[in-house]
Symmetry: C3
């Protein structure tokens, strides 16, 4: 009588008895599928998980702002913070206008229902309220090239969504993912990017380039269909976007850093590189922890639901995210301590090691064992150290290491699916292919090819088109600030405000204040 | 029939009928309502959503602290941070003692069940465990003036709540909302408010003035009943508190800024105003992103549940919050860039534009289409720019723009419900009126009058009473620090600690340290 | 059958039998308890609550980083931030390797099913999917000393967990709790701890000492069983870890501060102590608010579920956490204002008062009334003020007050259960004892003895063993940096990077830059 309180037992028993006595006779013949209330609760659970995940991903914007600003200089603080705050505002409007429609407003007519969205429809089909709108949305006309999905075309300004909670939550979730990709290049181009150039870049990413390529992998497009169309494993598999979000963002960042050129003083005449330390380790590390926190929305939230198999995938993703991020931090720190130039546990590289581990586990997080997550993270931590050296060799200046973290480790994460995916039966039918997602180590020989296709496609399409885009901005003198502005710092000339102004004081009392400064003065009461 | 929206009724009826037709033989006599487990899960979903929302709103306290401190000066950092930390502590105790009881410890006997709490009771009535306590709580005696609910009177110190999870979670949720209102005026009175005056203000807001007026709109009071009593639309409709929280907080802030007077040096003898820049854009922007993040608890959480229609309202609120905040940032930034004094994308005003958009969408977030959210946000971004100028013209010094953001845009948000509310059937029976919430653009002609009544009432009651309150504090010399303290900065005289002290060193080793400083010294091993 | 408490089984069986006897005639063939979908939704709700709680606790790492760094000096910023970031990375790997297995990989064969984990099994037994794995995991061999559970021995590297979402989420939740204990001592040893010593300490805590003692109280060990074995109330009861997490962390911190010795200059030759102010109140206060926010995952999340009685416990925990933290802040602030050396509302002590209240309510949060939570918090705020003075008298230097906050108030919190626990029937059968958890004030006379046993055991085992551990590190010259390094600051010698470097500029343009500095320069267009 102890664990369950008495009242509860009586109520339960009474309720059970009454119910059963009254209705038993008729219960034998039908299987009684879930009641309306159960369907409703299930739908609520799935959507609540997705939208809370979206909130956490939104918060990553604070992490990016702090990492980028912490690892750049005092004189550019207002500029760097503003880019990271406004990229969300600009991106939200852009994605609402066209981005979401381009990315998800399509379904491959040849292979219906194979997009992630399709999987959701399948699972959420319990709900008659929702299913109609989902399918209505997804059956919109598709611009196709050959038999492959290429670009969506419905859902501009959320038209036709009505009050469909599932679709609206999905929009919010996808919007903040796009935003992550859009904010990455502000790091590689920091300390020299014109604000107008940044604004145009934000529109380019949110309205076109991210939706285009993202749709190929998540919106029912041709990369996602490589399993059914060409027999390559389950097609391109990217659980939370090592490729879709991070490699896209990193490729844009790489193109940007190349076109905009290095900061004044980064490279010496003999070709050697100078280290330009950022102004605040405390802000940079704080940002890193915020990013790690937000990643628990990014990866586990990408299950897009929390009932049944969704729950398993979400929790596995959480554990692997935890372990890979930790492993990345450990390996980068250890590498720098043992092999790096300072022979010390370098804070900046430890930060990037954690982020590298997180980026790398993003695609495989739901598909691999925990030991594999640790291995993927350890390797990611090394890749970020090496890639930082490569970039300097190539004379590319990336102030915060956005390209080593997001581009190279995004690539590594996508490929890691093809190596470590363990064939968990919960992943069967991913992208419409019957078998579970299986990598090389578990006997899946073709999955790696689909992953390679994703990597190559992202590089060619995103890097290529965006390189041209930035070249045009540069030709229009919209990309890089003048030498004078760069030396002074961008804050006053570009933003009209210093990041850290000295305290302003009225001139007529300045002298008297100096007399007080530093002494303890007793409060004398109000003067007004 | 009024709380349940029509569509829902049809679907439910249809589902029920189909079910009954199939199993009727045995079912005719009872209808088998959801099982105990399903009721329990539903209740858990609703409460979980509300309490997680409450946690996010709590976190907004960090955002307010950073925005206010970032946009004020170095010499007042400890003072400004402390106000924003302690307002929660003081407010929590005050709201527990009397505030919650004043705000929600009443139900209008003439119009039972019309408060938001009443709506919850209606929807949560599935749960026999909870309903009893809810109604017991809500049927407590009411202090009434005429036929209108005016002030609650039960639930002091949570008396009678027992282990009722729904009520306790509701207390937590409402407490953090009150806290938001209480922290707003610390911004408009920053850099000159005595700490004892701040403490008394915290008690005034948490124990009396916020609960009084908040109860009129959310606790079953007379403004909420204007629909049934006077035929004005659905009565005052304020989903998450543009009026209840932000305009109340802003009105207190306005009264405070007027009574306490401008900072030394803000206005010149010729009447022109000086810009007094804050000390840290990075902290200010970080705070803004935290506030945006917390707003996803503030607005969507105000559905107070996540099952059925609650879920729809929550997700619509989330999308509209996202879009309006983004639009507010874009319009304020663009306005400053094109028309502002610096002709640059001003960081401070961009911050306030985002916050303005968020404040303005807070009342209408669940009632409007996404295009309307964008429009509301764009206008909010302009209002905040203009209101900043108005205040300076009126010689009111509001260091962080609390009044432009919260007072003026809180007002705009309340009125926007009367203009843009789209008559979504999910909102039928709001505040006990059969029809859905409908604004001018959708043919609802009287809703705007109820919204005007809310705006006027808040201004008269909150601004009026609080103006007197602050005048008394001033007369008792408890409001403003002395001229000397203000010039020196409030940190040492008021708090006994500098915000950013220089590193303390033992005097006997100071010289030797100077020798080391800046050089790389190899660690020599432990000395102890 | 052993993991389900016997009483539960009897009650359930009885209820079922009674029901079945009455209605069997028609029901013999199916029985239909809650459908698969309802079981699944219930399981999802419980796991979602636990894992979201875990995410919030993870985020507390940011709070610890900021509080510790804010309250230490500029010259050690990179070192202090790095410790707080890397402790998670190191700890995650260590806890995955051995910690979790030591802590939870056991069950007391003499008293089956009395661990918290056991209670979960009992409640989650609805779910056939999960139960199997839980029991498989928990029935692993146990290393025992006498008849008491002492150390677990299965689950290394998550072996055998498969895709069990419940177990994996439980691992994540417990990992972040361990991390909290591990990060506490970095505060008491800040500004002088060698980084290699920190790394070894992180491994010691995560891999051995925390799991050992934590398992005694949460993993089915002997302290948890004192109710059944010795008749002491419900055995050691510690809802969210005032003892397990905070007193363990504080005891490690105390041992560390004693072995490593005070910072240079902390104590004068006459024995008096100097105040060494931290470098940033804004970071310290921000960290405090983040910690408060995370505590809503820490305490309410420790219900480990959100359905039925779990929900009640979770929400009560949330309210009490809110009130006790607020009360702690109020009492510490008031004490310093009235009695403290500065006679001002000291920011540092207000911060620690809030944290003290939070630490103290952590054990009793689900067991006490709201008035008791306020009392516990008020006393905690005083304890932290007094303990700060005690430590200085004892010549122990704890830069951030980790010992007053976590050790002394952890102790107070554990004991408070024995005083204030209100016998809420929801807590009946806690730790396998029939009665509800009941303190002295409600007539429970033996609970306080079990709580005393927890306090003494933690002190003896954790402080004792860790003192030896640190002595060994000191003997190996791995614990404390040299005098030169300490005076210079640890950042450059230990980490190779300053926390706040001056802006780096290329030397050949330095002069020209000085000309620009401070002036508004118009952007001249791209130069590249």
């Amino acid at each position: 009588m102890n664990y369950i309180k008495k009242r509860w037992v009586w109520v339960l028993s009474l309720a059970l008895m009454m119910t059963l006595v009254l209705v038993t006779p008729a219960f034998a013949q039908d299987g009684t599928p879930p009641s309306e209330e159960v369907v409703d609760a299930t739908l609520s659970l799935n959507i609540m998980w997705m939208i809370i995940g979206g909130f956490l991903v939104f918060f990553m914007q604070a992490g990016f702002a702090l990492v980028e600003t912490g690892f750049t200089r005092n004189k550019n603080v207002a500029h760097t913070m503003m880019m990271n705050m406004m990229v969300f505002c600009i991106g939200a409007i852009g994605y609402w206008l066209t981005g979401f429609a381009f990315q998800f407003g399509a379904v491959n007519a040849a292979y219906p229902g194979v997009s992630t969205a399709g999987a959701i429809v399948g699972e959420w089909a319990h709900s008659p309220i929702t299913l109609g709108d989902w399918t209505g949305f997804l059956s919109a006309p598709l611009i196709r090239f050959g038999q492959f999905g290429f670009l969506g075309g419905s859902g501009f300004l959320l038209a036709g969504f009505g009050a469909n909670a599932g679709l609206l939550a999905f929009f919010l979730f996808q919007m903040v993912f796009m935003d992550t990709a859009a904010t990455i290049p502000t790091g590689s181009m920091a300390e020299r990017l014109k604000f107008i150039g940044f604004v145009l870049m934000g529109l380019w990413v949110s309205m076109f380039i991210y939706p285009l390529v993202g749709g190929w992998i998540w919106g029912g497009g041709w990369l996602q269909n490589l399993g059914r169309s060409m027999g390559l494993g389950n097609g391109a598999v990217d659980f939370a976007g090592s490729g879709v979000v991070h490699m896209i963002g990193g490729a844009i960042g790489l193109a940007g850093a190349m076109v905009i050129g290095p900061r004044i003083g980064k490279f010496n005449k003999d070709g050697s590189a100078n280290t330009i330390p950022g102004h605040s380790i405390s802000l940079g590390v704080l940002g890193t922890i915020i990013l790690f926190f937000g990643w628990f929305g990014f990866n586990p939230g990408s299950s897009l639901g929390f009932v049944g198999a969704f729950r398993n995938l979400a929790v596995i993703a959480a554990i692997n995210t935890l372990l890979a991020g930790a492993a990345g931090g450990c390996s980068a720190m250890t590498y720098m301590w043992l092999v790096g130039p300072t022979k010390k546990p370098d804070p900046g590289m430890s930060v990037n090691g954690i982020l590298a581990g997180l980026v790398a586990i993003t695609a495989p997080c739901a598909f691999v064992d925990s030991w594999a997550a640790v291995v993927i993270g350890l390797i990611a931590g090394l890749i970020v150290c090496w890639a930082t050296v490569w970039l300097e060799k190539w004379k590319i200046d990336d102030p915060v290491g956005a390209v080593p973290v997001h581009f190279f480790n995004g690539m590594w994460g996508v490929l890691a699916v093809g190596i470590f995916a363990n064939g968990n039966p919960d992943t069967a039918a991913w992208n419409g292919v019957e078998s579970a997602v299986t990598g090389l180590l578990y006997g899946g020989t073709t999955q790696i090819l689909a992953q390679l296709a994703e990597v190559v496609s992202i590089f060619v399409a995103v890097f290529g088109l965006t390189y041209v885009f930035f070249k045009i901005l540069a030709a229009l003198k919209l990309l890089r600030v003048s030498r004078e502005v760069e030396l002074q710092g961008l804050d006053v000339p570009e933003m009209g405000a210093l990041g850290y102004p000295k305290d302003w004081e009225p001139s007529d009392v300045e002298d008297s204040e100096k007399t007080f400064a530093g002494k303890r003065v007793k409060a004398l009461g109000t003067t007004d």
